[in-house]
């Protein structure tokens, strides 16, 4: 098979996505557009589109660099210049890239951003990350503080606070930078398109309820989520993409196929898992392989909710309440939800998707995800009666991916599920 880490799944939708991504990088590096950097969670793509500002997402750049095996060097570079070993490696991959010439995946240099849209949503590191970038670029930086939904609900105070910030801080800054006046109807139109793609997206997420599941909702899922999480929410392209994806998946269901992997379709679905936590990117292929080789498919994952939660409480962007719905979107991203909500979400997934258990991939970098996962695991085990398993890796730091360790744990976990099934509750020793 191909040995590039890039095109892991070959299908029309995948090809289309590839093309979309490279077109976006061309747009960012073309020098013809104003560029804003911002984060995936709380990403206000529709709003940026209203000002013709290109959307550059450092997290995605870090992922791209990790898959191209460049992140390790970048991280070391950043640590060399005084960044701690202990902090999020996305930040260091980004800063290291900057120090090493700031070259985009298309080979062209990234332009300095015209603004930093600091959507402080669900992650403390974001705040410092853009303070660090601001030191370098000295460009206008606008803070959008999204309060944490600590009690599992959105209060009026929170929503009002965000809407005011949008009106008083974010929009005026964008107007100033782009020279374009804000047109709320343009925003409404984009939001309508967002909602349309989001419908197909939710349909897609739910298809892994089939047995066998036609898709992998973690390793495959990160590809399926690509457009909606990045610079395409609100575009026609996203609508086309999700329609195409929907057709492909429908076809797989009709044919009764197991999930697709880089080495073709899985021949048998032995284990169904729900996964919490982001994947490892530096050894993405190797990591995925450990799963499909053992016959494991991921039927639901929290990572496919980091850029917005659409299935759990059925949120859609709403053209009739444009700014409020952007606020609700930000408030609702996965990492902005409190632990009881995250537990409920995952426990429901285990039950509704008939999974064998919950696997947590705990990421060293990310306290937003990781702090509390052990408690979540125990709660979810209690709620579902299904065993959990815990592995530890990192996002884009190759030093923290120990294949042997991960494999050992996965093997033990799957053998445990097996043994449990074979015993079938009989009282004799099952060996």
């Amino acid at each position: 098979m191909n040995n590039s880490n890039q095109d892991v799944i070959k299908s029309n939708s995948q090809l289309l996505q590839k093309e979309m991504i490279s077109r976006n990088y061309d747009r960012i590096t073309s020098g013809q557009f104003k560029v804003s950097s911002t984060f995936v969670p709380g990403n206000l793509n529709e709003l940026l589109m209203c000002f013709d500002i290109a959307n550059n997402l450092p997290e995605i750049n870090a992922i791209q660099n990790a898959m191209r095996k460049k992140s390790g060097d970048f991280i070391t570079e950043a640590e060399r210049s005084g960044h701690s070993e202990d902090v999020c490696t996305y930040v260091k991959a980004d800063i290291g890239m900057m120090e090493k010439g700031n070259i985009a995946p298309n080979g062209k240099p990234f332009p300095d951003p015209d603004m930093l849209l600091l959507s402080y949503t669900g992650c403390f590191t974001f705040l410092k990350w853009f303070e660090l970038l601001r030191e370098q670029y000295k460009c206008p930086t606008v803070m959008l503080h999204v309060p944490y939904a600590a009690d599992g609900k959105v209060t009026k105070n929170m929503r009002d606070y965000i809407v005011t910030q949008l009106k008083e801080e974010v929009i005026p800054t964008m107007e100033k930078i782009s020279g374009i006046k804000f047109d709320i109807d343009r925003l409404r139109e984009y939001l309508r398109k967002s909602a349309q793609a989001e419908n197909d997206l939710v349909w897609m997420l739910e298809q892994s309820k089939h047995k066998p599941s036609p898709i992998d909702c973690y390793f495959g899922g990160v590809y399926y989520m690509g457009p909606i999480f990045t610079a395409f929410r609100g575009t026609d392209e996203a609508i086309v993409y999700y329609k195409l994806l929907r057709e492909e998946i429908q076809q797989r269901i009709d044919l009764g196929l197991c999930a697709q992997t880089p080495e073709g379709d899985m021949s048998e679905e032995k284990y169904r898992l729900v996964v919490e936590g982001p994947p490892n990117w530096t050894s993405f292929r190797e990591f995925w392989k450990m799963f499909y080789e053992m016959g494991a498919v991921v039927v639901a994952s929290s990572y496919t909710k980091v850029g917005g939660v659409y299935d759990y409480d059925n949120f859609r962007h709403d053209p009739d309440h444009p700014l409020e719905s952007l606020a609700d979107y930000c408030l609702g991203v996965y990492t902005n939800r409190n632990l009881p909500t995250r537990v409920d979400m995952l426990a429901r997934n285990v039950k509704e998707y008939e999974a064998d258990g919950l696997l947590i991939n705990s990421i060293k970098s990310c306290n937003s995800f990781s702090a509390g996962q052990l408690v979540m695991m125990r709660e979810i085990e209690k709620l579902t009666g299904k065993p959990g398993a815990f592995i530890e890796t990192d996002l884009v730091d190759p030093r923290y991916f120990s294949a042997a360790n991960v494999k050992n744990r996965l093997e033990s976990y799957f053998q445990m599920i097996d043994q449990k099934r074979r015993a079938g509750g009989s009282a004799t020793v099952a060996v």
Binding site: K128, M143, P340, S362, N367, S370, G372, E379
Partner: protein, 391 residues
């Protein structure tokens, strides 16, 4: 009150520091039926409102160097700082059973998620994640923050079963104004004659303030200052440093002692910022919620926990501390895995480098045992300031 010798005051504080069962706070609670205790995690919470509700704000700063943490590791991976695991250990071993509610200020994702763990594990307790605005305009962040303060007030009213009046809050503000004033005097005294107020003593004095009722703590500081001034101690050939990064998980007492032993007088630090987070006295008339909100927005310490809107203002608190306290250099001591401290550090370092102020960086955990590397670094720092200065 006649002056007590320093030693007695320090021993009293040390006793409070070592007591992980919080006996002093329990005594306060038991003294009158219906009293309530609200625990809070480090950095900043508006203690005035808790005080006004007739409750005792209890600062919980982890388990310290000597607590054996057994279950804590069942809750946290090795790459997460230490304070949440020892705090959980305190809770599940019953040491916080008398605490009626917990407040988790918005400092980082670890403390944020700890609020969720509390919600899951201690369902019968009042749990409040306390968000502070990162927008500092009155009509934006101010409105949000005032509403948050009001929500807090209402929550405490419900918990306490009585209304909290503006007059009560104003009164509490005055009490805390006085406390802040004395905290600052202790810091001034130490900066002027650090040999007369060793860092470990000042630390213990402030730690006592996390547990004692504020009025008692204020008195304790008055007594200490009087006693310390009356007991001059020999001055050592040390350099003067500001300690930065210790605002949440606490350095072990031995670390603080080791720094001084290795030749560094600590003339300022950022431990227990809650005692001096608000930089100016808060007005005691008018709408107390608005006053607290404005104090937070416009006169609070510029630290890693906050977003600094102006690039030029970044690091101003630290630089002001160096200037005001006459420090020769800075020791950045951050808890391992502490995002706020470690992510902020490179920016602080830039500021120092631009001004040619020497600094060193080190990491610790609340239970670090090995002080040798710490002394090594601090000692070398002191050596080089000493050997190459004109003295």
């Amino acid at each position: 009150m006649s002056a007590k010798p320093v030693e007695k005051i320090v021993d009293f504080c040390q006793g409070i520091f070592e007591d992980i069962t919080f006996a002093k706070a329990r005594q306060w609670k038991d003294a009158q039926p219906g009293r309530k205790v609200i625990g809070y995690m480090p950095v900043y919470v508006p203690r005035e409102i808790i005080h006004a509700a007739g409750m005792l704000p209890l600062g919980i700063l982890g388990g310290g160097a000597d607590m054996e943490v057994i279950h804590g590791d069942a809750y946290y991976q090795s790459y997460i700082c230490r304070i949440p695991r020892s705090t959980i250990e305190l809770a599940i071993t019953g040491k916080l059973d008398f605490v009626d509610g917990m407040m988790f200020p918005s400092i980082c994702d670890v403390i944020r998620n700890l609020s969720g763990i509390w919600q899951i594990m201690f369902k019968d307790k009042y749990v409040r994640y306390f968000d502070a605005p990162q927008n500092f305009k009155d009509e934006i962040g101010g409105v949000f923050y005032s509403n948050e303060l009001r929500e807090l007030k209402e929550g405490l009213e419900k918990l306490g079963g009585r209304e909290i009046t503006d007059a009560q809050i104003n009164n509490s503000i005055a009490v805390y104004n006085e406390n802040r004033d004395w905290v600052n005097r202790v810091y001034d005294f130490r900066a002027a004659t650090p040999w007369n107020a060793p860092a470990a003593e000042v630390y213990l004095l402030m730690r006592a303030g996390m547990v004692l009722p504020v009025e008692e703590h204020t008195q304790l500081m008055k007594d200490y200052l009087e006693a310390a001034a009356a007991e001059p101690r020999p001055m050592r050939d040390n350099c003067r440093v500001t300690l930065i990064g210790t605002f949440c998980e606490q350095p072990p007492l031995n670390l603080i002692k080791s720094l001084e032993m290795a030749g560094c007088y600590i003339v300022d630090d950022d431990t227990m910022l809650v005692t001096r987070w608000l930089l100016e006295a808060v007005p005691t008339d008018g709408d107390p919620i608005d006053n607290l909100s404005k104090a937070f927005l416009h006169h609070s310490a510029e630290t890693a926990a906050k977003y600094e809107v102006n690039l030029e203002e970044k690091g101003s608190y630290m630089l002001e501390s160096i200037r005001k306290r006459g420090a020769d250099g800075v020791i950045f001591a951050a808890p391992s895995f502490c995002d706020p401290a470690l992510l902020d550090q490179p920016m602080m370092v830039h500021r120092l480098e631009a001004l040619g102020i020497p600094y060193i960086t080190m990491q610790y955990a609340e239970n670090s045992g090995q002080m040798q590397p710490i002394r090594e670094q601090a000692g070398t720092f002191a050596d080089s300031i000493k050997l190459w200065s004109s003295s």
